[in-house]
């Protein structure tokens, strides 16, 4: 019978935070790509007067350039999602990588790659939603005609969702990476894809209203991107994240009501 030293000390000592470093670097590159406009933009070379940060502008440009435009938009949206979502997912990526101890380096890379790749892919696909919405109701013309109502309405939608039990349920999974792994762990590359898919669903469930709001204020608006990334990261990582989510809901409710009142008067 032998008493062992704390496992945590031993594990922490020998761990090099490769997963965290790689994830942060990818996220940083994605931010640089968005801010530095490294991404090819649909119709961007035509030197138009439209700013990509304007509400509905990226969506309208994508749709007016056919399939190429749509693909470029989704690519841009995917890069933006990586920039915004990867940093707060590091705890889960790290814990998942720990479960692969004993697997070959190539095996680990495959599984971690499948995990974070699936996550990026699912978020990229959600970019179809703003495109479809834009086909039904062009955001640019709506923003020009009824800017206040559009902004206020989307704030009220955000408020309603932030304060709903659905938000709470999804956020609980996002906030407890170990809890998620314990309930969903599957071995193998297929297991990685499957787990990542399940996690992405909770993640989309948690954040879709924030992104809906972002599309309304301009889906490539760097300031709002940064603000929303900070909010969703704090929601998921700090002890008061649950209260922050409700606080954002209440603020959005007040803000939305005020904006709508002003635009109606």
């Amino acid at each position: 019978m032998g008493t062992h030293d704390s496992f945590r000390d031993r594990i922490t000592h020998r761990r090099i935070p490769i997963i965290a470093v790689v994830t942060y670097v990818i996220a940083l590159l994605a931010w640089a790509a968005v801010i530095g406009r490294w991404l090819p933009m649909p119709g961007g070379q035509m030197g138009m007067e439209i700013h990509m940060s304007d509400p509905g502008a990226p969506e309208a440009m994508a749709l007016s350039n056919g399939l190429t435009g749509i693909c470029l938009y989704l690519f841009m949206w995917g890069v933006m999602m990586v920039a915004m979502m990867y940093p707060s997912s590091v705890p889960l990526f790290r814990l998942y990588a720990e479960t692969l101890e004993g697997t070959t380096t190539a095996g680990k890379a495959m599984r971690v790659g499948a995990f974070i790749g699936t996550y990026a892919l699912v978020w990229t696909v959600t970019g179809v939603v703003p495109l479809v919405v834009n086909v039904l109701v062009p955001i640019v013309s709506l923003a020009n005609a009824h800017g206040g109502l559009l902004m206020g309405g989307s704030l009220l939608l955000l408020s309603g969702y932030q304060l709903s039990p659905y938000k709470y349920r999804c956020l609980r999974y996002c906030r407890s990476p170990l809890g998620f792994l314990l309930g969903h762990y599957r071995p193998g590359v297929r297991g990685a894809v499957r787990m990542s898919w399940q996690f992405s669903v909770f993640c989309v469930g948690c954040c879709w209203a924030l992104f809906a709001f972002m599309v309304i204020v301009g889906s490539m608006n760097i300031v709002w991107m940064a603000l929303i990334a900070v909010v969703l990261s704090l929601e998921r990582t700090v002890a008061w994240g649950g209260r922050l989510a409700r606080g954002v809901g209440i603020l959005a409710g007040i803000g939305g009501s005020v904006v709508i009142l002003i635009s109606l008067v």
Partner: protein, 203 residues
């Protein structure tokens, strides 16, 4: 040198919560602490070249107050290894269950485990359908049966971390006593038991 491993077989746990234990929903346990004994009979398993078939394992967990899987809740554990296992089998099991060899125990050890004792004891593990009977040295005595509901069906709970389907059967202990040392001594007979088949792996 850690290896790829996979183990599967029969599993039973008996804890202090009323039926059914709510830790799997990430809620606080009854009494706000978790005192649980767990036992595995590995029917088929391997750790690299080491065959683990037919070996039994027991574990005791005693947690701090609060939600068991909340990041700040620390656990003390005792790992009880089958004395019929040979040295390499025991090393393999210690690597697996201490979280050193990946799999779900690695993040558990990283996130929760404050201290761990390892000891070798005689273990007898028997199962008939949903009736389990486990005796581990002088430390653990655990008898548990499936909790039957409507249609004479045993209830199930999901997601539970230790099974491939993430589903376990609900049960109730008739005996669930532990006497290992001052910290690990309890009688939680008549409370929750989860039971069924398990499957774990690290790759």
């Amino acid at each position: 040198m850690t290896q790829e491993w996979t183990i599967k077989g029969d599993y039973v746990e008996a804890c202090n919560c009323d039926v059914a234990c709510q830790c799997v929903w990430m809620e606080s346990p009854d009494d706000d602490v978790c005192t649980v004994s767990l036992a595995w009979h590995i029917e088929e398993g391997s750790y690299g070249d080491v065959d683990l078939s037919g070996v039994d394992v027991g574990m005791l967990i005693s947690t701090d107050e609060g939600v068991m899987f909340a990041p700040e809740t620390e656990w003390d554990i005792v790992l009880l290894l089958d004395e019929t296992a040979n040295d390499s089998q025991r090393e393999a099991l210690e690597d697996i269950y201490s979280g050193r060899a990946g799999g779900i125990w690695a993040p558990v050890a990283d996130t929760h485990v404050r201290s761990a004792d390892v000891t070798t004891v005689p273990i007898s593990f028997s199962r008939e359908g949903t009736d389990f009977s486990v005796e581990i040295g002088d430390a653990i005595e655990m008898d548990a049966s499936g909790a039957v509901g409507f249609n004479e069906e045993v209830g199930t709970i999901s997601p539970h971390p230790l099974t491939k389907s993430t589903e376990v059967q609900t049960g109730k202990s008739t005996t669930a006593t532990v006497s290992y040392d001052d910290q690990f001594t309890w009688d939680v007979s008549g409370n929750n038991a989860y039971l069924g088949d398990f499957e774990l792996a690290n790759s």
